[in-house]
């Protein structure tokens, strides 16, 4: 590159001029196509949800709706039938909100304390504890479903809101503990020693020194947990009980409840509504979400 001869009279000086190279155009073209590829299903769903049934039957799925309507969205939200009840997705939405709002803080607080204790308060067997906890991340959860049903029934929590919160807390624990342990392990241990010399104990160090430093990693954990718990289907189905079925389970019921014809518009609207929360989380959290994925990569 440096051997390229300059036109006469041009002396290199100041910032090097930027050229649009073929490579650069290629990269952008690729990124654009990749983005479109992943956007198309969403676009098709949103367009379809605004079309009437006759238009869907007669037309092309890529065509814009001729008379866009939000009727199906309203129906999906408030009056679509899930089995015998016809209250739409709304009850499921509020159930999911309840489950998420309770499970996320509980699991994160416990994992944070775990990670803190495992990084700084090494005790006899703490490495083993951590290894066992990590091992938990690789146990197929199907294996644990029945034992947990049994256990929760024994204490009368099977099919209740606390029951599903406990289940989410347990299953989030390995990955979240790993996340926090690695974060705390990356902090200089001298900080912890300084606080010990200053006379602070386990909780004082946690609340006064560590917690204020943990905001970024906590945001990552919240994103990980909100999306994970919101998207959960199987735990909700098994453990939440009829009264607390999350939105994903309700969505499944709507899509599978057939009263004569399949109403694609309603199904599409319901699907987009259910996916809206993780989508909004992705869009709002941007870079934090990428870090979350990087951190969650070990999840496999």
């Amino acid at each position: 590159m440096s051997s390229v001869s300059l036109p006469a009279g041009i002396e290199p000086s100041g910032p090097r001029p930027r050229h649009v190279t073929a490579t650069r155009i290629g990269i952008y073209a690729f990124l654009l196509i990749a983005a479109l590829f992943f956007l198309i299903p969403l676009i098709v769903m949103i367009m379809t949800s605004m079309k009437s049934m006759s238009e869907i039957r007669g037309g092309n799925i890529f065509a814009l709706p001729m008379q866009p309507t939000l009727d199906y969205w309203v129906k999906a939200w408030s009056s679509a039938c899930t089995g015998r009840d016809c209250y739409g997705l709304a009850p499921g939405f509020f159930n999911s909100v309840k489950i998420t709002v309770l499970s996320v803080p509980v699991s994160i607080v416990i994992a944070m304390i775990n990670g803190y204790a495992l990084s700084f308060w090494r005790f006899r067997g703490s490495e083993l504890m951590f290894a066992i906890l990590l091992f938990g991340a690789f146990v197929p959860f199907q294996v644990l479903v029945y034992p947990i049903i049994f256990g929760l029934s024994r204490v009368g929590l099977f099919g209740t809101l606390p029951g599903i919160v406990i289940v989410h807390t347990i299953f989030g624990m390995p990955i979240l503990t790993l996340l926090f342990r690695n974060f705390f392990a990356s902090l200089p241990v001298e900080l912890f020693k300084a606080a010990r010399v200053d006379g602070a104990g386990f909780w004082r160090i946690f609340f006064s020194v560590m917690l204020p430093m943990s905001v970024p990693i906590t945001i990552v954990a919240v994103i990980l947990q909100v999306t994970g718990i919101w998207n959960d289907f199987i735990f909700g189905l098994v453990f939440a009980g009829r009264e607390n079925m999350p939105m994903t389970v309700q969505l499944n019921n709507i899509v599978r409840t057939s009263t004569g014809t399949v109403e694609y518009s309603t199904n599409m609207a319901a699907t987009v509504l259910t996916g809206a929360v993780p989508l909004i989380v992705y869009f709002v959290s941007g870079k934090w979400f990428v870090r979350g994925i990087a951190a969650g990569a070990v999840k496999g």
């Binding site: 900080l191 300084a194 010399v197 200053d198 006379g199 602070a200 020194v209 430093m213």
Partner: protein, 357 residues
């Protein structure tokens, strides 16, 4: 002088690795002790044991006459300053300094008074409301010192406090620490691998190697009467010349020369393999060399002008020899000069054990 810190038969193992083995150390009240040694020799480990941040494997630790072996760090009457400063990043300078006092539940007026006094001593008054990220390295380390200062402790522990600073700041802060010691007269135990810091600050230096204190003495003795080859080679820059030879009849015989040791004060006279240590600044050239008990003609190999003086490399009996000459003396490679020194000012070591004889 009464004893401030006393360490008795202290051992520390990490699993099967023994880092400190039955170490004994007594530090007087108000004394400035420097633990000096190469990286990994166990200096920080020893300091952490004194602070109570590591569980020791055996032995006892007394501070101000009290057995603190099982005490929590906060109950030992110590303050500690770390290499990485270890300031609480989310707290202001003021909150950093007052943290320990607040944890102890001290009434606010007294906390404020102590922080104010420490800030005055360390010239931090104008920075009290800043966060650590808004401070320079030197300022951060002063805050870290202030954090130990406010707690009004008997013993200050420093773990390489200046290692993260650039050369100029390091010199400034070194003087400041010395001034602080003169003013407060606390006991200070100071860990470093920098011999200049050790020589300039210490009342006594403890030279460590592989978890064992090699020599504990004042800087002058350490420099002039090193107890073994390790200490002799570790202290001094450029380092001491070691001339290996055979000790017989009060003279060291080397290739083509015999160095008379008549005026050397032997601790334990012996015959056999020995090493004579000569400081580069004790070797002189030219006319001055003619006055020395030992003189030899030699050829200059390399010259390193340092500004204040010049370091020259030559050979003595086939062994490398460096000396420090006045910057005004013209020396060029290849030049033949007369060099000389007084073997009585040197140190003689047993060639096998490396111990001073």
């Amino acid at each position: 002088m009464s004893t401030s810190v006393e360490i008795k038969d202290l051992s520390l193992n990490y699993g099967t690795v023994t880092v400190l083995d039955r170490l004994n150390l007594e530090v007087g009240k108000g004394e400035f002790i420097v633990l000096l040694g190469p990286s990994g020799c166990g200096k920080s480990t020893l300091l952490n044991c004194i602070a109570g941040l590591l569980d020791i494997s055996a032995g006892q630790i007394f501070i101000s006459g009290k057995n603190v072996t099982w005490d929590e760090p906060k109950d030992r009457g110590i303050g500690m300053v770390f290499q990485s400063y270890a300031l609480y990043p989310q707290m202001t300078v003021e909150k950093n300094m007052s943290f320990g006092l607040r944890v102890a539940g001290m009434p606010k007026p007294e906390v404020d008074a102590r922080v104010k006094r420490a800030a005055e001593i360390l010239q931090l008054e104008s920075l009290l409301q800043r966060k650590p990220v808004e401070l320079s390295g030197g300022q951060r380390q002063r805050v870290a010192i202030g954090r130990a200062l406010v707690r009004d402790v008997d013993v200050f522990l420093f773990d390489e406090p200046l290692s993260n600073l650039d050369a100029k700041l390091r010199n400034d802060l070194r003087v400041e620490i010395k001034r602080l010691h003169h003013r407060l007269k606390n006991t200070m135990i100071y860990v470093t691998h920098d011999q200049i810091e050790a020589m300039t600050l210490a009342d006594r230096i403890a030279i460590m190697k592989n978890g064992v204190i090699q020599q504990l003495a004042d800087p002058h003795t350490i420099y002039n009467k090193p107890t073994n080859l390790f200490v002799a080679g570790f202290i001094g820059s450029p380092s001491m010349n070691f001339i290996r030879g055979d000790l017989t009849g009060g003279a060291l015989n080397i290739d083509g020369a015999s160095i008379p040791l008549a005026n050397y004060e032997f601790k334990a006279p012996m015959n056999g393999a020995a090493v004579l240590g000569v400081r580069p600044e004790h070797v002189v050239v030219g006319e001055e060399a003619q006055k020395m008990p030992f003189q030899v003609e030699s050829e200059i190999e390399i010259v390193e002008p340092m500004g204040a003086d010049t370091i020259a490399w030559t050979k003595l009996g086939g062994q490398s020899l460096t000396f420090r000459a006045d910057a005004e003396v013209r020396l060029v490679p290849g030049q033949k000069v007369l060099i000389g020194f007084d073997p009585g000012r040197g140190s003689v070591f047993n060639g096998e054990s490396g111990e001073r004889i």
